[in-house]
């Protein structure tokens, strides 16, 4: 049989799925053990036990100075920033994506402008944002919005344009006005794509969040990582990175489930 036609059974697929993760942990354990055998005070690859202790300390024992559980307060601070920014971006993308995709006049006016804006490297704008908007939450949220909204607008506008012309014509012959067609034909068909687009922008969104927190913040996951970097606290940095990854994976999975539950038809073509 051709390689392209050989498929793993479900059990093998599960094993294959887990293998890289297990291998990574084993490789880390071996490397860490070797370095610690050489030099017990090595900080670069702390033992798994050291990391568990660190997580215990950060997650379950109140910080003596502020009385807060650091891991949770960091997580809350970061997620509030991330989700407000993503919420704002989603709204902007929905409104402008539909306007650009449906109305030729708006497309002529805005499409080249949005394409240009999306080429500006957002991190290069960060100093400007901090100067103009101050060091508070506004600047961080704005950075994420500038970073992800243009790409989402373009993605959605493209989806609108890709809708078969026949569908729009059909809706017109059913007596639909521009507004009604937007509401009943275009919007429902791009909402699933909006969710997918949001998932794809999670990576860049985290990138901008951590960059902003690294430079100016007093809490947040990115802030913590860059704070403890000064003490080479790998036992904190590794778990934090893993935690951020886990949060991103969960969000992405939840969004996909949400799409399938709310828009069951959007999964019918895929089998």
């Amino acid at each position: 049989m051709r390689w392209i036609n050989t498929k793993p059974s479900p059990a093998v697929a599960t094993l294959l799925m887990l293998a890289p993760f297990v291998l990574l942990v084993i490789a880390y354990g071996v490397g860490s053990a070797a370095r610690l055998a050489d030099n017990p005070s090595d900080k670069l690859l702390p033992a798994l036990q050291t990391m568990v202790d660190a997580v215990n300390r950060l997650a379950f024992i109140p910080d003596p100075r502020t009385g807060e559980l650091i891991l949770w307060s960091d997580t809350a601070a970061s997620l509030v920033r991330l989700f407000s920014a993503l919420g704002i971006s989603t709204l902007i993308a929905l409104v402008f994506g539909m306007l650009v995709g449906m109305l030729p006049y708006v497309r002529a006016l805005l499409a080249p402008f949005i394409a240009t804006i999306s080429m500006v490297p957002p991190l290069a704008l960060l100093p400007i944002l901090f100067i103009v908007l101050g060091l508070g939450e506004t600047a961080k949220i704005t950075l994420i919005v500038i970073g992800v909204a243009p790409a989402m607008i373009r993605d959605l506008a493209l989806r609108v344009i890709e809708l078969p012309k026949e569908q729009i014509t059909k809706a017109e012959t059913l007596g639909g006005s521009s507004w009604q067609i937007a509401l009943r034909v275009v919007l429902p068909q791009i909402l699933p794509r909006l969710i997918t687009s949001l998932r794809l922008q999670m990576g860049p969104a985290w990138l901008f969040l951590i960059a902003a927190e690294a430079i100016s913040a007093d809490s947040g996951l990115g802030y913590r990582i860059f704070l403890v970097r000064r003490y080479l606290s790998m036992d904190v940095i590794f778990p934090y990175v893993a935690w951020i990854t886990l949060l991103a994976v969960i969000t992405s999975f939840a969004l996909d489930r949400l799409r399938i539950v709310v828009f069951p038809w959007s999964n019918l073509g895929v089998r």
Binding site: K170, A171, E172, T173, L174, W179, Q180, P188, Q189
Partner: protein, 273 residues
């Protein structure tokens, strides 16, 4: 009434001439079958009728009034593909035209909705989709989707129904069923039909008139400079008249048909024979 008149209509896309001096009068309640080789401009002709494209030269009028330059509810359409909305159920698809009556919400509520649902259900049953109301188009076969598209167009009670190779992808059995349905609808509703088809048999079985487009010059180097002309215009004899039973069984080459009226003629009413 809906008499459509094409007066010396030309259609060009850039340098490419597609249709040349098409002059044609389509009588009210006619069933025009449009045939011609691929690429001769049949879909373009329908787009002109639909108002999706404007003629480069010439005028198109309906009952003496120039055609509105955008698609509207007086002209229904079934395309070969993409005619139904994938995000709506069968019922939702048929209901949509009714729901567009509500200008802002584009949805109906209460009694208005119940009436519309009743009407939609009746139409769904009529095209043979009863029982599939809650399915999405992706869960229907090609033939069911085309029947759905038909029901969706018919709920608007259009004056003109445009069909672009609507039954091309169907197997002969389903196609025969749909032909019966088409004929009945044409007899029973106030419809003028223009149907594009590649199937001569279909054209002559259903039409009251068969017209053909053809490029008189079709060598590759000439293709851009010359468009298609109306090359044939055949009135079916004996004439079929909407709403009246035909004199002869229309499908002469079909298997034996029982005596009396043929199955796709309307039921006799009153003191008609």
């Amino acid at each position: 009434m809906s008499t459509i008149v094409f007066d010396k209509v030309w259609k060009e896309y850039g340098d490419q001439i597609v249709l040349e001096k098409i002059s044609l009068t389509i009588a009210s309640r006619a069933f025009v079958a449009l045939v011609g080789p691929s690429g001769c401009g049949k879909t373009t002709f329908l787009k002109l009728l639909l108002g999706e494209e404007a003629p480069t030269q010439g005028t198109i009028t309906m009952d003496g009034v120039p055609l509105v330059a955008e698609p509207g509810p007086d002209r229904g359409v079934v395309f070969q593909r993409y005619s139904v909305f994938p995000h709506l159920t069968v019922l939702g698809n048929v209901l949509l035209g009714k729901e567009f009556r509500s200008p802002v919400a584009a949805r109906l509520f209460g009694a208005a909705r119940r009436n519309a649902v009743d009407e939609a259900m009746a139409l769904i049953a009529e095209v043979g989709l009863a029982g599939s109301e809650t399915k999405y188009p992706a869960q229907l076969s090609g033939g069911m989707q085309q029947r759905l598209a038909l029901a969706q167009a018919l709920i608007m009670k259009p004056k003109v129904l445009l069909l672009d190779e609507p039954f091309g992808a169907l197997d002969p059995g389903i196609r025969a069923d749909i032909h019966v349905l088409m004929k009945r609808l044409w007899h029973e509703t106030e419809l003028t039909v223009v149907m594009v088809t590649h199937d001569m048999r279909e054209a002559f079985t259903l039409g009251t008139r068969v017209i053909a487009f053809e490029r008189p010059r079709d060598r590759p180097e000439e293709r851009e400079r010359y468009g298609s002309l109306l090359s044939r215009d055949i009135y079916i004899w004996p004439p079929r008249i909407a709403g009246e039973p035909s004199l002869f069984a229309p499908d002469r080459d079909d298997p034996a048909i029982p005596l009396g009226l043929s199955q796709d003629d309307p039921a006799p009413q009153g003191d008609n024979p």
